[in-house]
Symmetry: C2
Subunit: 326 residues, 2 copies
Protein backbone atom coordinates (compact mmCIF):
# COMPACT_ATOMS: atom_id res chain seq x y z
CA UNK A 1 0.00 0.00 0.00
CA UNK A 2 2.71 2.37 1.01
CA UNK A 3 4.23 3.82 -2.13
CA UNK A 4 7.37 5.38 -0.75
CA UNK A 5 8.99 5.26 2.63
CA UNK A 6 11.19 8.21 3.25
CA UNK A 7 14.41 8.10 5.20
CA UNK A 8 14.77 10.04 8.42
CA UNK A 9 17.39 12.15 6.61
CA UNK A 10 16.02 15.39 5.26
CA UNK A 11 15.73 16.22 1.58
CA UNK A 12 18.38 18.64 0.39
CA UNK A 13 18.35 20.86 -2.68
CA UNK A 14 21.10 20.28 -5.29
CA UNK A 15 24.06 22.58 -4.61
CA UNK A 16 24.15 23.54 -8.31
CA UNK A 17 20.66 24.94 -7.95
CA UNK A 18 21.61 26.94 -4.86
CA UNK A 19 24.64 28.39 -6.66
CA UNK A 20 22.54 29.33 -9.68
CA UNK A 21 20.05 31.19 -7.50
CA UNK A 22 22.80 32.97 -5.59
CA UNK A 23 24.61 34.02 -8.78
CA UNK A 24 21.79 35.66 -10.74
CA UNK A 25 19.85 38.81 -9.82
CA UNK A 26 16.49 38.65 -11.49
CA UNK A 27 14.01 35.76 -11.66
CA UNK A 28 10.66 35.13 -13.29
CA UNK A 29 8.79 32.44 -11.35
CA UNK A 30 6.07 30.88 -13.51
CA UNK A 31 3.66 28.14 -12.56
CA UNK A 32 0.95 26.13 -14.27
CA UNK A 33 -2.37 27.43 -15.60
CA UNK A 34 -5.35 27.05 -13.24
CA UNK A 35 -2.95 27.23 -10.29
CA UNK A 36 -3.67 25.24 -7.12
CA UNK A 37 -2.45 25.73 -3.56
CA UNK A 38 0.84 23.94 -4.16
CA UNK A 39 1.68 26.04 -7.23
CA UNK A 40 0.73 29.32 -5.54
CA UNK A 41 2.14 28.65 -2.06
CA UNK A 42 5.44 27.28 -3.38
CA UNK A 43 5.90 30.21 -5.77
CA UNK A 44 5.12 32.82 -3.09
CA UNK A 45 7.51 31.24 -0.57
CA UNK A 46 10.29 30.96 -3.14
CA UNK A 47 9.81 34.57 -4.24
CA UNK A 48 10.04 35.72 -0.62
CA UNK A 49 13.22 33.70 -0.12
CA UNK A 50 14.82 35.23 -3.21
CA UNK A 51 13.78 38.69 -2.04
CA UNK A 52 15.54 37.99 1.27
CA UNK A 53 18.66 37.36 -0.78
CA UNK A 54 18.28 40.76 -2.45
CA UNK A 55 17.03 39.39 -5.78
CA UNK A 56 14.35 40.87 -8.04
CA UNK A 57 11.46 38.45 -8.58
CA UNK A 58 8.38 38.45 -10.77
CA UNK A 59 5.50 35.98 -10.30
CA UNK A 60 3.51 34.96 -13.35
CA UNK A 61 0.44 32.81 -13.89
CA UNK A 62 -1.80 32.98 -16.94
CA UNK A 63 -4.85 32.73 -14.65
CA UNK A 64 -5.66 35.01 -11.71
CA UNK A 65 -5.27 33.69 -8.15
CA UNK A 66 -8.63 32.01 -7.31
CA UNK A 67 -10.57 33.81 -4.57
CA UNK A 68 -10.23 30.78 -2.28
CA UNK A 69 -6.49 31.48 -2.10
CA UNK A 70 -6.70 35.18 -1.28
CA UNK A 71 -5.64 34.25 2.26
CA UNK A 72 -2.13 33.36 1.07
CA UNK A 73 0.34 36.00 2.25
CA UNK A 74 1.57 38.32 -0.53
CA UNK A 75 -0.64 36.65 -3.16
CA UNK A 76 -1.06 40.04 -4.86
CA UNK A 77 2.49 39.71 -6.13
CA UNK A 78 1.11 37.37 -8.85
CA UNK A 79 0.53 38.93 -12.25
CA UNK A 80 -1.26 37.57 -15.32
CA UNK A 81 0.79 39.88 -17.57
CA UNK A 82 3.85 38.00 -18.77
CA UNK A 83 5.32 40.99 -20.60
CA UNK A 84 5.83 42.93 -17.38
CA UNK A 85 7.92 40.03 -16.11
CA UNK A 86 10.14 39.83 -19.16
CA UNK A 87 11.88 43.15 -18.52
CA UNK A 88 15.32 42.94 -16.88
CA UNK A 89 16.14 39.72 -18.78
CA UNK A 90 15.18 37.33 -15.94
CA UNK A 91 16.16 33.72 -15.36
CA UNK A 92 13.04 31.52 -15.65
CA UNK A 93 12.05 29.29 -12.72
CA UNK A 94 9.28 26.92 -13.77
CA UNK A 95 7.56 25.73 -10.59
CA UNK A 96 5.16 22.82 -10.01
CA UNK A 97 5.22 21.97 -13.73
CA UNK A 98 7.99 21.14 -16.15
CA UNK A 99 7.13 22.37 -19.62
CA UNK A 100 6.71 25.98 -20.78
CA UNK A 101 3.34 25.06 -22.37
CA UNK A 102 1.83 24.12 -18.96
CA UNK A 103 2.71 27.61 -17.77
CA UNK A 104 1.42 29.31 -20.96
CA UNK A 105 4.76 30.97 -21.62
CA UNK A 106 4.03 31.30 -25.36
CA UNK A 107 7.01 32.31 -27.46
CA UNK A 108 8.96 33.91 -24.60
CA UNK A 109 12.61 32.89 -24.49
CA UNK A 110 15.03 33.02 -21.58
CA UNK A 111 18.80 33.09 -21.29
CA UNK A 112 18.60 30.47 -18.55
CA UNK A 113 15.83 28.12 -17.37
CA UNK A 114 15.34 26.24 -14.08
CA UNK A 115 12.68 23.61 -13.33
CA UNK A 116 11.56 22.71 -9.77
CA UNK A 117 8.74 20.17 -9.78
CA UNK A 118 7.31 16.91 -8.45
CA UNK A 119 5.29 15.84 -11.49
CA UNK A 120 6.26 13.17 -13.98
CA UNK A 121 8.44 14.77 -16.62
CA UNK A 122 6.61 15.73 -19.77
CA UNK A 123 9.79 16.46 -21.69
CA UNK A 124 13.38 17.41 -21.09
CA UNK A 125 13.10 21.15 -20.62
CA UNK A 126 15.38 23.31 -18.46
CA UNK A 127 19.09 24.08 -18.14
CA UNK A 128 18.86 23.09 -14.48
CA UNK A 129 16.23 20.54 -13.44
CA UNK A 130 15.21 19.40 -9.96
CA UNK A 131 12.29 17.04 -10.36
CA UNK A 132 11.42 14.74 -7.42
CA UNK A 133 8.46 12.76 -8.62
CA UNK A 134 8.08 10.97 -5.27
CA UNK A 135 7.79 14.23 -3.33
CA UNK A 136 4.26 14.90 -2.07
CA UNK A 137 4.30 18.55 -3.12
CA UNK A 138 6.51 21.14 -4.77
CA UNK A 139 6.20 22.87 -1.39
CA UNK A 140 8.39 20.10 0.08
CA UNK A 141 11.14 20.95 -2.45
CA UNK A 142 10.89 24.68 -1.88
CA UNK A 143 11.07 24.12 1.89
CA UNK A 144 14.24 22.08 1.45
CA UNK A 145 15.64 24.68 -0.93
CA UNK A 146 15.05 27.59 1.47
CA UNK A 147 16.80 25.64 4.23
CA UNK A 148 19.66 24.66 1.91
CA UNK A 149 20.09 28.37 1.12
CA UNK A 150 20.58 28.93 4.86
CA UNK A 151 17.51 31.16 5.19
CA UNK A 152 15.14 31.37 8.14
CA UNK A 153 11.57 30.32 7.43
CA UNK A 154 9.42 33.41 8.06
CA UNK A 155 5.79 33.22 9.20
CA UNK A 156 4.52 34.08 5.71
CA UNK A 157 6.80 31.48 4.08
CA UNK A 158 5.53 28.94 6.62
CA UNK A 159 1.90 29.76 5.84
CA UNK A 160 2.45 29.51 2.09
CA UNK A 161 4.42 26.25 2.32
CA UNK A 162 2.04 24.64 4.82
CA UNK A 163 -0.85 25.43 2.47
CA UNK A 164 1.08 24.02 -0.50
CA UNK A 165 1.72 20.74 1.30
CA UNK A 166 -1.76 20.57 2.85
CA UNK A 167 -3.48 20.95 -0.52
CA UNK A 168 -1.41 18.29 -2.30
CA UNK A 169 -1.78 15.74 0.52
CA UNK A 170 -5.49 16.38 1.22
CA UNK A 171 -4.28 17.75 4.55
CA UNK A 172 -2.38 14.56 5.29
CA UNK A 173 -5.00 12.08 4.10
CA UNK A 174 -3.51 10.87 0.81
CA UNK A 175 -0.98 8.08 0.33
CA UNK A 176 1.80 10.62 -0.31
CA UNK A 177 1.68 11.60 3.41
CA UNK A 178 5.04 10.26 4.59
CA UNK A 179 6.71 10.81 7.94
CA UNK A 180 8.87 13.43 6.24
CA UNK A 181 5.76 15.33 5.11
CA UNK A 182 4.48 15.39 8.70
CA UNK A 183 7.88 16.41 10.11
CA UNK A 184 8.06 19.25 7.59
CA UNK A 185 4.52 20.32 8.55
CA UNK A 186 5.62 20.31 12.21
CA UNK A 187 8.56 22.59 11.38
CA UNK A 188 6.25 24.96 9.52
CA UNK A 189 3.86 25.10 12.48
CA UNK A 190 6.81 25.83 14.72
CA UNK A 191 7.73 28.64 12.29
CA UNK A 192 4.27 30.15 12.63
CA UNK A 193 1.76 28.41 10.34
CA UNK A 194 -1.58 27.78 12.07
CA UNK A 195 -3.15 24.49 10.89
CA UNK A 196 -6.69 25.39 11.97
CA UNK A 197 -6.64 28.80 10.34
CA UNK A 198 -5.35 27.35 7.07
CA UNK A 199 -7.84 24.43 7.20
CA UNK A 200 -10.67 26.87 7.82
CA UNK A 201 -9.61 28.89 4.76
CA UNK A 202 -9.35 25.75 2.65
CA UNK A 203 -12.46 23.90 3.78
CA UNK A 204 -14.84 26.15 5.71
CA UNK A 205 -15.36 29.22 3.58
CA UNK A 206 -18.11 28.11 1.23
CA UNK A 207 -20.70 30.77 0.64
CA UNK A 208 -24.30 29.63 0.84
CA UNK A 209 -24.71 29.57 -2.95
CA UNK A 210 -21.84 27.13 -3.17
CA UNK A 211 -23.41 24.93 -0.51
CA UNK A 212 -26.71 24.88 -2.42
CA UNK A 213 -24.86 24.06 -5.65
CA UNK A 214 -23.09 21.24 -3.81
CA UNK A 215 -26.40 19.71 -2.69
CA UNK A 216 -27.84 20.01 -6.22
CA UNK A 217 -24.79 18.26 -7.68
CA UNK A 218 -24.79 15.50 -5.05
CA UNK A 219 -28.52 14.93 -5.68
CA UNK A 220 -27.65 13.99 -9.29
CA UNK A 221 -25.45 11.10 -8.10
CA UNK A 222 -25.84 7.80 -9.96
CA UNK A 223 -23.91 4.65 -9.15
CA UNK A 224 -22.89 2.03 -11.70
CA UNK A 225 -20.50 -0.80 -10.79
CA UNK A 226 -18.04 1.09 -8.65
CA UNK A 227 -18.43 4.38 -10.52
CA UNK A 228 -20.28 7.37 -9.05
CA UNK A 229 -21.36 9.97 -11.60
CA UNK A 230 -22.58 13.47 -10.85
CA UNK A 231 -23.14 16.46 -13.10
CA UNK A 232 -23.47 20.21 -12.89
CA UNK A 233 -25.34 22.26 -15.48
CA UNK A 234 -25.21 25.91 -16.53
CA UNK A 235 -28.75 26.24 -15.11
CA UNK A 236 -27.52 25.15 -11.64
CA UNK A 237 -24.83 27.83 -11.75
CA UNK A 238 -27.44 30.44 -12.66
CA UNK A 239 -29.87 29.34 -9.94
CA UNK A 240 -27.25 29.51 -7.18
CA UNK A 241 -25.24 32.47 -8.45
CA UNK A 242 -22.07 30.38 -8.69
CA UNK A 243 -19.37 29.67 -11.27
CA UNK A 244 -17.15 26.75 -12.29
CA UNK A 245 -14.64 27.87 -9.62
CA UNK A 246 -17.21 26.90 -6.97
CA UNK A 247 -17.10 23.23 -8.02
CA UNK A 248 -13.48 22.92 -6.77
CA UNK A 249 -13.13 19.54 -5.03
CA UNK A 250 -16.76 18.47 -5.75
CA UNK A 251 -15.53 15.65 -8.01
CA UNK A 252 -13.74 14.11 -5.01
CA UNK A 253 -16.62 14.07 -2.56
CA UNK A 254 -18.50 10.89 -3.64
CA UNK A 255 -15.30 8.96 -2.87
CA UNK A 256 -16.56 8.73 0.71
CA UNK A 257 -19.02 6.01 -0.39
CA UNK A 258 -17.35 2.70 0.38
CA UNK A 259 -17.99 0.87 -2.91
CA UNK A 260 -17.07 3.82 -5.13
CA UNK A 261 -13.78 3.19 -6.91
CA UNK A 262 -13.98 6.09 -9.35
CA UNK A 263 -15.94 9.33 -9.01
CA UNK A 264 -16.78 11.35 -12.12
CA UNK A 265 -18.27 14.81 -12.41
CA UNK A 266 -19.50 16.25 -15.73
CA UNK A 267 -19.61 20.03 -15.92
CA UNK A 268 -21.50 21.83 -18.69
CA UNK A 269 -19.15 24.40 -20.20
CA UNK A 270 -21.89 26.34 -21.96
CA UNK A 271 -20.98 25.48 -25.53
CA UNK A 272 -22.62 22.06 -25.94
CA UNK A 273 -19.58 20.54 -24.29
CA UNK A 274 -18.99 18.72 -21.01
CA UNK A 275 -15.81 18.71 -18.98
CA UNK A 276 -15.39 15.39 -17.18
CA UNK A 277 -13.32 15.24 -13.95
CA UNK A 278 -12.27 11.74 -12.90
CA UNK A 279 -11.07 10.84 -9.40
CA UNK A 280 -9.85 7.37 -8.47
CA UNK A 281 -9.36 5.88 -5.02
CA UNK A 282 -6.20 4.27 -6.39
CA UNK A 283 -7.43 1.05 -8.02
CA UNK A 284 -7.99 2.44 -11.51
CA UNK A 285 -5.57 4.61 -13.49
CA UNK A 286 -7.95 7.33 -14.69
CA UNK A 287 -5.22 9.17 -16.62
CA UNK A 288 -5.23 6.28 -19.14
CA UNK A 289 -9.01 6.53 -19.49
CA UNK A 290 -8.90 10.33 -19.94
CA UNK A 291 -6.24 9.93 -22.62
CA UNK A 292 -8.67 7.83 -24.68
CA UNK A 293 -10.86 10.94 -24.89
CA UNK A 294 -8.02 13.33 -25.69
CA UNK A 295 -7.49 14.44 -22.07
CA UNK A 296 -4.91 13.56 -19.42
CA UNK A 297 -3.77 13.97 -15.84
CA UNK A 298 -2.48 11.85 -13.00
CA UNK A 299 -3.22 8.27 -12.03
CA UNK A 300 -5.79 9.35 -9.42
CA UNK A 301 -7.03 12.63 -10.93
CA UNK A 302 -7.61 13.27 -14.63
CA UNK A 303 -10.01 14.99 -17.01
CA UNK A 304 -11.19 15.46 -20.58
CA UNK A 305 -13.76 17.41 -22.62
CA UNK A 306 -16.52 15.76 -24.64
CA UNK A 307 -19.30 17.24 -26.79
CA UNK A 308 -22.83 15.98 -27.28
CA UNK A 309 -25.64 15.04 -24.91
CA UNK A 310 -24.91 14.05 -21.34
CA UNK A 311 -26.60 10.64 -21.39
CA UNK A 312 -24.43 9.49 -24.31
CA UNK A 313 -21.27 10.92 -22.76
CA UNK A 314 -21.97 9.01 -19.52
CA UNK A 315 -22.60 5.77 -21.42
CA UNK A 316 -19.36 6.01 -23.43
CA UNK A 317 -17.29 6.84 -20.35
CA UNK A 318 -18.81 4.03 -18.27
CA UNK A 319 -17.89 1.58 -21.02
CA UNK A 320 -14.27 2.76 -21.01
CA UNK A 321 -14.12 2.69 -17.20
CA UNK A 322 -15.62 -0.79 -16.92
CA UNK A 323 -12.69 -2.14 -18.97
CA UNK A 324 -10.18 -0.50 -16.61
CA UNK A 325 -12.00 -1.59 -13.46
CA UNK A 326 -12.29 -5.11 -14.85
Amino acid sequence: MRQTRSQTGKMRAPSKLCSALLKDDCFLIATHINPDGDALGSALALAEALTCLGKKTFLYDRDPVPKYYFFLPKHKKFSTDLNKGLKNDPVLILLDCNSPERAALGAASFRKTIVIDHHETEREFGDLRWVEKHAAATGMLVHALIRSLGLKITVSMAENLYTAIAVDTGTFRYSNTTDEVLRTAAELVWAGAEPNVIAEHLYETWDYGRFRLYLMVMNTLERREGVAITHVTAAMFRKTGTTAEDTENFANLPRRINDVKVAVMFRETGSGEWKASLRSKGGANVALVAEQFGGGGHRNAAGFTISGDLATAKKILLKALSKTLG
Copy 2:
Protein backbone atom coordinates in the same frame (compact mmCIF):
# COMPACT_ATOMS: atom_id res chain seq x y z
CA MET B 1 -5.78 32.28 17.68
CA ARG B 2 -3.16 29.78 18.69
CA GLN B 3 -4.15 28.33 22.04
CA THR B 4 -0.96 26.63 23.05
CA ARG B 5 2.50 26.59 21.60
CA SER B 6 4.37 23.49 22.56
CA GLN B 7 8.07 23.36 23.24
CA THR B 8 10.37 21.30 21.07
CA GLY B 9 11.00 19.10 24.10
CA LYS B 10 8.89 15.98 24.12
CA MET B 11 6.18 15.28 26.66
CA ARG B 12 7.22 12.72 29.26
CA ALA B 13 5.03 10.58 31.47
CA PRO B 14 5.38 11.07 35.27
CA SER B 15 7.89 8.58 36.67
CA LYS B 16 5.47 7.70 39.49
CA LEU B 17 3.00 6.51 36.86
CA CYS B 18 5.64 4.38 35.12
CA SER B 19 6.62 2.79 38.46
CA ALA B 20 2.99 2.05 39.31
CA LEU B 21 2.46 0.31 35.98
CA LEU B 22 5.68 -1.69 36.34
CA LYS B 23 4.85 -2.78 39.90
CA ASP B 24 1.34 -4.20 39.46
CA ASP B 25 0.30 -7.23 37.43
CA CYS B 26 -3.32 -6.83 36.44
CA PHE B 27 -5.09 -3.77 35.00
CA LEU B 28 -8.62 -2.92 33.99
CA ILE B 29 -8.56 -0.16 31.37
CA ALA B 30 -11.93 1.60 31.22
CA THR B 31 -12.92 4.45 28.96
CA HIS B 32 -15.97 6.67 28.48
CA ILE B 33 -19.40 5.61 27.24
CA ASN B 34 -20.03 6.09 23.49
CA PRO B 35 -16.30 5.70 22.89
CA ASP B 36 -14.62 7.66 20.08
CA GLY B 37 -11.37 7.02 18.22
CA ASP B 38 -9.20 8.61 20.89
CA ALA B 39 -10.74 6.55 23.69
CA LEU B 40 -10.53 3.29 21.73
CA GLY B 41 -7.14 3.78 20.08
CA SER B 42 -5.47 4.98 23.28
CA ALA B 43 -6.88 2.09 25.30
CA LEU B 44 -5.85 -0.52 22.74
CA ALA B 45 -2.31 0.85 22.47
CA LEU B 46 -1.91 1.02 26.24
CA ALA B 47 -3.23 -2.53 26.66
CA GLU B 48 -0.73 -3.77 24.10
CA ALA B 49 2.11 -1.97 25.86
CA LEU B 50 1.16 -3.51 29.21
CA THR B 51 0.93 -6.92 27.56
CA CYS B 52 4.49 -6.41 26.26
CA LEU B 53 5.50 -5.92 29.91
CA GLY B 54 3.90 -9.26 30.82
CA LYS B 55 0.83 -7.75 32.50
CA LYS B 56 -2.75 -9.01 32.39
CA THR B 57 -5.11 -6.40 30.93
CA PHE B 58 -8.85 -6.16 30.53
CA LEU B 59 -10.54 -3.53 28.32
CA TYR B 60 -13.99 -2.32 29.30
CA ASP B 61 -16.50 0.02 27.71
CA ARG B 62 -20.20 0.06 28.49
CA ASP B 63 -20.94 0.44 24.76
CA PRO B 64 -19.74 -1.85 22.00
CA VAL B 65 -17.01 -0.66 19.61
CA PRO B 66 -18.85 1.20 16.77
CA LYS B 67 -18.58 -0.57 13.41
CA TYR B 68 -16.61 2.38 11.96
CA TYR B 69 -13.77 1.46 14.31
CA PHE B 70 -13.60 -2.23 13.49
CA PHE B 71 -10.39 -1.46 11.57
CA LEU B 72 -8.52 -0.73 14.81
CA PRO B 73 -6.06 -3.55 15.50
CA LYS B 74 -7.13 -5.86 18.34
CA HIS B 75 -10.44 -4.01 18.90
CA LYS B 76 -12.07 -7.33 19.81
CA LYS B 77 -10.26 -7.17 23.13
CA PHE B 78 -12.94 -4.70 24.29
CA SER B 79 -15.73 -6.13 26.42
CA THR B 80 -19.01 -4.58 27.55
CA ASP B 81 -19.12 -6.95 30.56
CA LEU B 82 -17.51 -5.24 33.53
CA ASN B 83 -17.83 -8.27 35.81
CA LYS B 84 -15.44 -10.30 33.67
CA GLY B 85 -12.86 -7.55 34.18
CA LEU B 86 -13.21 -7.42 37.94
CA LYS B 87 -11.70 -10.87 38.54
CA ASN B 88 -8.04 -10.90 39.59
CA ASP B 89 -8.48 -7.71 41.63
CA PRO B 90 -7.15 -5.31 38.94
CA VAL B 91 -5.82 -1.78 39.23
CA LEU B 92 -8.19 0.60 37.42
CA ILE B 93 -6.86 2.81 34.63
CA LEU B 94 -9.45 5.37 33.62
CA LEU B 95 -8.56 6.57 30.13
CA ASP B 96 -9.78 9.62 28.17
CA CYS B 97 -12.15 10.54 31.01
CA ASN B 98 -11.65 11.26 34.68
CA SER B 99 -14.67 10.17 36.67
CA PRO B 100 -15.98 6.62 37.18
CA GLU B 101 -19.48 7.77 36.14
CA ARG B 102 -18.28 8.74 32.63
CA ALA B 103 -17.07 5.16 32.24
CA ALA B 104 -20.24 3.65 33.72
CA LEU B 105 -18.31 1.79 36.40
CA GLY B 106 -21.35 1.61 38.70
CA ALA B 107 -20.58 0.47 42.21
CA ALA B 108 -17.33 -1.33 41.35
CA SER B 109 -14.48 -0.53 43.71
CA PHE B 110 -10.74 -0.89 43.14
CA ARG B 111 -7.76 -1.20 45.44
CA LYS B 112 -5.92 1.39 43.32
CA THR B 113 -7.04 3.87 40.64
CA ILE B 114 -5.11 5.69 37.89
CA VAL B 115 -6.43 8.45 35.62
CA ILE B 116 -4.86 9.34 32.24
CA ASP B 117 -6.80 12.04 30.42
CA HIS B 118 -6.78 15.35 28.54
CA HIS B 119 -10.24 16.61 29.50
CA GLU B 120 -11.01 19.26 32.08
CA THR B 121 -11.24 17.59 35.45
CA GLU B 122 -14.76 16.78 36.58
CA ARG B 123 -13.69 15.93 40.11
CA GLU B 124 -10.68 14.77 42.04
CA PHE B 125 -10.79 11.06 41.41
CA GLY B 126 -7.81 8.72 41.27
CA ASP B 127 -4.86 7.70 43.47
CA LEU B 128 -2.57 8.62 40.60
CA ARG B 129 -3.66 11.29 38.13
CA TRP B 130 -2.04 12.40 34.87
CA VAL B 131 -4.35 14.97 33.28
CA GLU B 132 -2.92 17.24 30.57
CA LYS B 133 -5.79 19.41 29.53
CA HIS B 134 -3.74 21.13 26.82
CA ALA B 135 -2.87 17.85 25.09
CA ALA B 136 -4.70 17.37 21.80
CA ALA B 137 -5.60 13.75 22.53
CA THR B 138 -5.20 11.07 25.17
CA GLY B 139 -3.30 9.28 22.40
CA MET B 140 -0.53 11.87 22.81
CA LEU B 141 -0.20 10.94 26.49
CA VAL B 142 -0.24 7.20 25.83
CA HIS B 143 2.43 7.66 23.15
CA ALA B 144 4.63 9.53 25.63
CA LEU B 145 3.93 6.89 28.28
CA ILE B 146 4.90 3.99 26.02
CA ARG B 147 8.16 5.75 25.17
CA SER B 148 8.81 6.60 28.81
CA LEU B 149 8.39 2.90 29.62
CA GLY B 150 11.19 2.22 27.13
CA LEU B 151 8.99 0.17 24.80
CA LYS B 152 9.16 0.03 21.02
CA ILE B 153 6.08 1.33 19.20
CA THR B 154 4.72 -1.66 17.23
CA VAL B 155 2.78 -1.28 13.98
CA SER B 156 -0.53 -1.96 15.73
CA MET B 157 0.24 0.53 18.52
CA ALA B 158 1.14 3.08 15.83
CA GLU B 159 -2.13 2.48 13.99
CA ASN B 160 -4.18 2.80 17.17
CA LEU B 161 -2.37 5.92 18.37
CA TYR B 162 -2.39 7.61 14.96
CA THR B 163 -6.15 7.05 14.79
CA ALA B 164 -6.60 8.41 18.32
CA ILE B 165 -4.72 11.62 17.47
CA ALA B 166 -6.29 11.95 14.01
CA VAL B 167 -9.82 11.75 15.39
CA ASP B 168 -9.30 14.33 18.13
CA THR B 169 -7.55 16.83 15.85
CA GLY B 170 -9.89 16.42 12.85
CA THR B 171 -6.87 14.86 11.11
CA PHE B 172 -4.78 17.92 11.90
CA ARG B 173 -7.35 20.58 11.10
CA TYR B 174 -8.36 21.78 14.58
CA SER B 175 -6.63 24.43 16.68
CA ASN B 176 -5.12 21.74 18.94
CA THR B 177 -2.80 20.68 16.07
CA THR B 178 0.56 21.79 17.45
CA ASP B 179 3.99 21.07 16.02
CA GLU B 180 4.32 18.36 18.67
CA VAL B 181 1.14 16.68 17.41
CA LEU B 182 2.56 16.61 13.88
CA ARG B 183 5.97 15.35 15.04
CA THR B 184 4.26 12.57 16.99
CA ALA B 185 2.19 11.69 13.90
CA ALA B 186 5.44 11.55 11.89
CA GLU B 187 6.94 9.12 14.41
CA LEU B 188 3.83 6.93 14.22
CA VAL B 189 4.00 6.88 10.41
CA TRP B 190 7.65 5.92 10.69
CA ALA B 191 6.57 3.11 13.04
CA GLY B 192 4.11 1.80 10.47
CA ALA B 193 0.82 3.75 10.56
CA GLU B 194 -0.49 4.54 7.07
CA PRO B 195 -2.22 7.95 6.97
CA ASN B 196 -4.20 7.24 3.80
CA VAL B 197 -5.45 3.86 4.98
CA ILE B 198 -6.58 5.31 8.31
CA ALA B 199 -8.16 8.35 6.62
CA GLU B 200 -10.01 6.06 4.22
CA HIS B 201 -11.37 4.06 7.17
CA LEU B 202 -12.39 7.23 8.99
CA TYR B 203 -13.85 9.22 6.11
CA GLU B 204 -14.44 7.07 3.03
CA THR B 205 -16.41 4.05 4.20
CA TRP B 206 -19.95 5.38 4.09
CA ASP B 207 -22.41 2.85 2.74
CA TYR B 208 -24.86 4.18 0.19
CA GLY B 209 -27.72 4.33 2.73
CA ARG B 210 -25.61 6.61 4.88
CA PHE B 211 -24.85 8.85 1.90
CA ARG B 212 -28.58 9.10 1.09
CA LEU B 213 -29.32 9.91 4.73
CA TYR B 214 -26.62 12.59 4.62
CA LEU B 215 -28.24 14.28 1.61
CA MET B 216 -31.67 14.11 3.26
CA VAL B 217 -30.30 15.73 6.42
CA MET B 218 -28.39 18.44 4.52
CA ASN B 219 -31.54 19.22 2.50
CA THR B 220 -33.25 20.20 5.79
CA LEU B 221 -30.68 22.92 6.44
CA GLU B 222 -32.03 26.28 7.62
CA ARG B 223 -29.90 29.32 8.40
CA ARG B 224 -30.71 31.94 11.03
CA GLU B 225 -28.17 34.60 11.99
CA GLY B 226 -25.02 32.53 12.03
CA VAL B 227 -26.75 29.31 13.09
CA ALA B 228 -27.30 26.39 10.69
CA ILE B 229 -29.95 23.91 11.81
CA THR B 230 -30.53 20.46 10.34
CA HIS B 231 -32.63 17.56 11.59
CA VAL B 232 -32.93 13.83 11.13
CA THR B 233 -36.18 11.94 11.73
CA ALA B 234 -36.98 8.32 12.52
CA ALA B 235 -38.66 8.15 9.09
CA MET B 236 -35.37 9.08 7.38
CA PHE B 237 -33.60 6.27 9.21
CA ARG B 238 -36.29 3.82 8.08
CA LYS B 239 -36.21 5.00 4.45
CA THR B 240 -32.44 4.62 4.17
CA GLY B 241 -31.96 1.59 6.40
CA THR B 242 -29.66 3.50 8.74
CA THR B 243 -29.36 4.14 12.48
CA ALA B 244 -28.24 6.95 14.78
CA GLU B 245 -24.65 5.65 14.47
CA ASP B 246 -24.73 6.70 10.81
CA THR B 247 -25.13 10.37 11.73
CA GLU B 248 -21.61 10.44 13.24
CA ASN B 249 -19.98 13.77 12.27
CA PHE B 250 -23.09 15.05 10.38
CA ALA B 251 -23.54 17.84 12.94
CA ASN B 252 -20.12 19.22 11.95
CA LEU B 253 -20.59 19.38 8.20
CA PRO B 254 -22.53 22.67 7.80
CA ARG B 255 -19.55 24.40 9.43
CA ARG B 256 -18.07 24.62 5.94
CA ILE B 257 -20.47 27.49 5.16
CA ASN B 258 -18.52 30.71 5.77
CA ASP B 259 -21.11 32.62 7.81
CA VAL B 260 -22.09 29.67 10.02
CA LYS B 261 -20.80 30.16 13.56
CA VAL B 262 -22.76 27.32 15.17
CA ALA B 263 -24.16 24.19 13.53
CA VAL B 264 -26.97 22.28 15.23
CA MET B 265 -28.47 18.92 14.37
CA PHE B 266 -31.68 17.62 15.96
CA ARG B 267 -32.11 13.85 15.95
CA GLU B 268 -35.48 12.23 16.70
CA THR B 269 -34.87 9.58 19.33
CA GLY B 270 -38.19 7.81 18.78
CA SER B 271 -39.86 8.69 22.06
CA GLY B 272 -41.17 12.20 21.34
CA GLU B 273 -37.72 13.52 22.17
CA TRP B 274 -35.00 15.23 20.17
CA LYS B 275 -31.29 15.03 20.80
CA ALA B 276 -29.57 18.29 19.82
CA SER B 277 -25.87 18.27 18.84
CA LEU B 278 -24.19 21.68 18.82
CA ARG B 279 -20.92 22.43 17.06
CA SER B 280 -19.19 25.81 17.26
CA LYS B 281 -16.42 27.21 15.07
CA GLY B 282 -14.94 28.67 18.23
CA GLY B 283 -16.75 31.99 18.68
CA ALA B 284 -19.58 30.70 20.87
CA ASN B 285 -19.24 28.43 23.90
CA VAL B 286 -21.95 25.86 23.14
CA ALA B 287 -21.34 23.94 26.39
CA LEU B 288 -22.87 26.87 28.29
CA VAL B 289 -25.92 26.81 26.01
CA ALA B 290 -26.33 23.04 26.33
CA GLU B 291 -26.16 23.36 30.12
CA GLN B 292 -29.22 25.64 30.06
CA PHE B 293 -31.14 22.64 28.67
CA GLY B 294 -29.70 20.13 31.12
CA GLY B 295 -26.96 18.91 28.78
CA GLY B 296 -23.24 19.59 28.57
CA GLY B 297 -20.01 19.05 26.67
CA HIS B 298 -17.03 21.04 25.49
CA ARG B 299 -16.72 24.63 24.35
CA ASN B 300 -16.94 23.64 20.66
CA ALA B 301 -19.06 20.47 20.87
CA ALA B 302 -21.99 19.91 23.20
CA GLY B 303 -25.47 18.41 23.31
CA PHE B 304 -28.75 18.04 25.16
CA THR B 305 -32.12 16.31 24.90
CA ILE B 306 -35.44 18.13 24.59
CA SER B 307 -39.01 16.85 24.29
CA GLY B 308 -41.89 18.31 22.29
CA ASP B 309 -42.31 19.35 18.68
CA LEU B 310 -39.32 20.25 16.53
CA ALA B 311 -40.41 23.75 15.52
CA THR B 312 -40.72 24.82 19.17
CA ALA B 313 -37.42 23.20 20.11
CA LYS B 314 -35.67 25.08 17.28
CA LYS B 315 -37.21 28.37 18.33
CA ILE B 316 -36.17 27.99 21.99
CA LEU B 317 -32.63 27.00 21.08
CA LEU B 318 -32.21 29.84 18.59
CA LYS B 319 -33.23 32.30 21.30
CA ALA B 320 -30.60 30.91 23.68
CA LEU B 321 -27.94 30.91 20.97
CA SER B 322 -28.67 34.45 19.84
CA LYS B 323 -27.80 35.67 23.33
CA THR B 324 -24.46 33.86 23.23
CA LEU B 325 -23.63 34.98 19.69
CA GLY B 326 -24.58 38.52 20.66
